[in-house]
């Protein structure tokens, strides 16, 4: 019997496995890829690790630091989990398939760190010919930066989130021409440091526009773009075509939670990930979640931090036969808060809250009215996750709920 089976060998899973091992637990780490690291090995740009390792690293370097610290952890790659069986609160099974065959292993706890998937063309309303040359940004990145294959020469990118912008740079560096980045919202989706890429390579950004149609024979030949109004409705007569051989979709990530929702774990529609308490435990006792499977993070540093937290939760669960708390206090979303996790806090420990706003605002107060906490912020943006520490003492001042809201500074 394992103490913890970690599902997913990316930064969240590896950080969880390392921490669990350090806490003396018997750990099995499973990943369905044939190499560890999740998406990090293909994120070859710098900007990782400033908080977690206190130095700036590329994705592969960040992954390597974790990979080389897995001694004492049983690791299986090419191992795809098929099913989680919650036999009881204190005994679970993980069924996985690997080159050794199908195995069913018993475990006391599970840390689910299976990351996220990308939204694809059909999910954002793009119609037209079913041609080759349509990739998600992550697929294009895998092709270029793992396998060394150029996906195309004349590129249109849908979405100005970080992965899309980073791929715009990679395409430009490798000699392809990025003809446009098309963003539905009236503001760019990525971090400021990535928006700079557009200026560096003279790439036009179309805000309040969407790609609606793809045409081509066998291969993408042109894409149709249309302007949208403030309610995101298409403006008739504003259509135009861009010639391109490749369409790259960078329209956001969705936590990969199917194995959890299959067994009835409660999912928060706003994060797309499970509802969790301050130990990152899901609604099924003994099943913890970390990283992009919990909520979409901007920084890998937070992903690794969540992995460690989940491992500490697993340790507490095993030691006490469950996560003990006398009273759960609910975190409620107030004005201009699109999502927040964790969803329940105990007041028995300090907690990092991760939250995102709905729309950009300047000169604001981030407020927790029930406990009288106020933080002034010059600017908030949907692209930049807010990470706020609530102290145990502060949390205990609330009775049943703590609201988080962003209001104008008066």
């Amino acid at each position: 019997m394992y103490d913890v089976v970690v599902i997913g060998g990316g930064p969240a899973g590896m950080a969880a496995a390392i921490r669990a091992r350090d806490l003396g637990l018997r750990v099995l780490l499973l990943d369905d890829n044939d190499y560890l690291g999740g998406i990090l090995p293909q994120c070859i740009h710098p900007g990782f690790g400033i908080h977690y390792f206190k130095e700036e690293l590329t994705g592969p370097e960040f992954a390597y630091k974790l990979m080389s610290n897995l001694e004492g952890v049983e690791v299986k790659t090419s191992a795809r989990v098929l099913e989680i069986i919650n036999y009881s609160d204190i005994e679970k099974f993980v069924v996985y398939t690997s080159p050794e065959g199908v195995k069913k292993v018993p475990t006391r706890t599970i840390i689910y760190a299976a990351g996220a998937r990308e939204r694809h063309a059909f999910e954002i309303g793009i119609v037209g010919d079913r041609v080759s040359g349509i990739y998600t940004a992550g697929e294009a990145q895998t092709l270029m930066d793992i396998y060394g294959i150029m996906p195309g020469k004349e590129i249109v990118i849908v979405g100005s989130g970080d992965v899309g912008l980073i791929m715009a740079r990679r395409f430009s560096l490798e000699g392809a021409r990025v003809k446009a980045v098309i963003e539905l919202m009236p503001y760019p989706g990525g971090l400021a440091r990535n928006i700079m890429i557009l200026r560096d390579f003279n790439i036009p950004l179309y805000l309040s526009h969407k790609v609606v149609e793809v045409r081509g024979r066998g291969r993408v030949e042109r894409v149709k773009v249309v302007k949208v109004d403030e309610n995101l409705r298409e403006i008739p007569g504003s259509e135009f075509w861009i010639k391109a051989d490749t369409l790259v979709i960078s329209a956001g990530l969705i936590p990969n939670v199917r194995l959890l929702s299959d067994i009835g774990v409660v999912i928060d529609p706003s994060t797309g990930g499970p509802v969790v308490n301050d130990r990152l435990e899901t609604s099924i006792p003994g099943i913890f979640v970390a990283g992009n499977a919990l909520l979409i993070n901007d920084l890998v540093d937070y992903v690794a931090e969540q992995g460690e937290l989940a491992a500490e939760g697993a340790k507490e669960f095993i030691d006490n036969g469950g996560i003990l708390s006398k009273h759960w206090i609910k975190i409620e979303k107030g004005e201009n808060i699109r999502l927040v996790a964790p969803h329940y806090v105990s007041g028995e420990r300090d907690v990092w809250l991760y939250a995102r706003v709905r729309r950009p605002m300047e000169n604001v107060v981030l407020e927790f009215p029930e406990i009288g906490k106020r933080i002034r912020l010059p600017v908030v943006k949907p692209a930049e996750m807010l990470r706020i520490k609530l102290r145990a003492k502060e949390i205990r001042e609330a009775e049943n709920k703590i609201t988080i809201r962003v209001i104008e500074n008066d």
Binding site: Y35, P41, I44, H45, P46, T58, P60, E61, Y64, M144, D145, I146, Y147, G148, L173, E174, G175, A192, R193, I195, M196, D200, P378, V379, K381, E384
Partner: protein
């Protein structure tokens, strides 16, 4: 002739809009910054913008078909195309370790960031 450069500062999440006014290759005015680091960054962006550059090069006999590389330190922005054409001609043989020097470009080391 004066020319105005507008930047969104990336030194911190504040994202200040900084304007640098240049006249005859000299800074005439700079405004919009809220900290000295931002001011320094904006001046550097106008006078001598630099970037860390990353790419992949093919590997023979490795676990993966490519190895990722980066410049050891930022290089002048206008040198990037030259560096990329040099990298396009390079092939390496496994094994490669993280930190191995794959090539050199105008005194700047190109180092491997992934094992192969």
């Amino acid at each position: 002739m004066t020319k105005v450069y507008r930047f969104t500062c990336i030194v911190c999440p504040l994202s200040c809009t900084i304007e640098v006014e240049m006249e005859g290759g000299k800074i005439k005015d700079i405004k919009g910054y809220t900290c000295p680091r931002g001011k320094e960054w904006a001046i550097e962006e106008v006078i001598n913008p630099k970037r860390v550059v990353m790419s992949v090069v093919p590997v023979e006999g490795g676990k993966l078909p490519t190895v990722s590389v980066k410049t050891e330190r930022p290089i002048p922005k206008d040198k990037i195309p030259e560096l990329m054409s040099m990298l396009a001609k390079i092939k390496v043989k496994a094994p490669v370790k993280i930190g191995d020097v794959i090539a050199e470009f105008e005194g700047v080391k190109i180092i491997a960031t992934r094992e192969a």
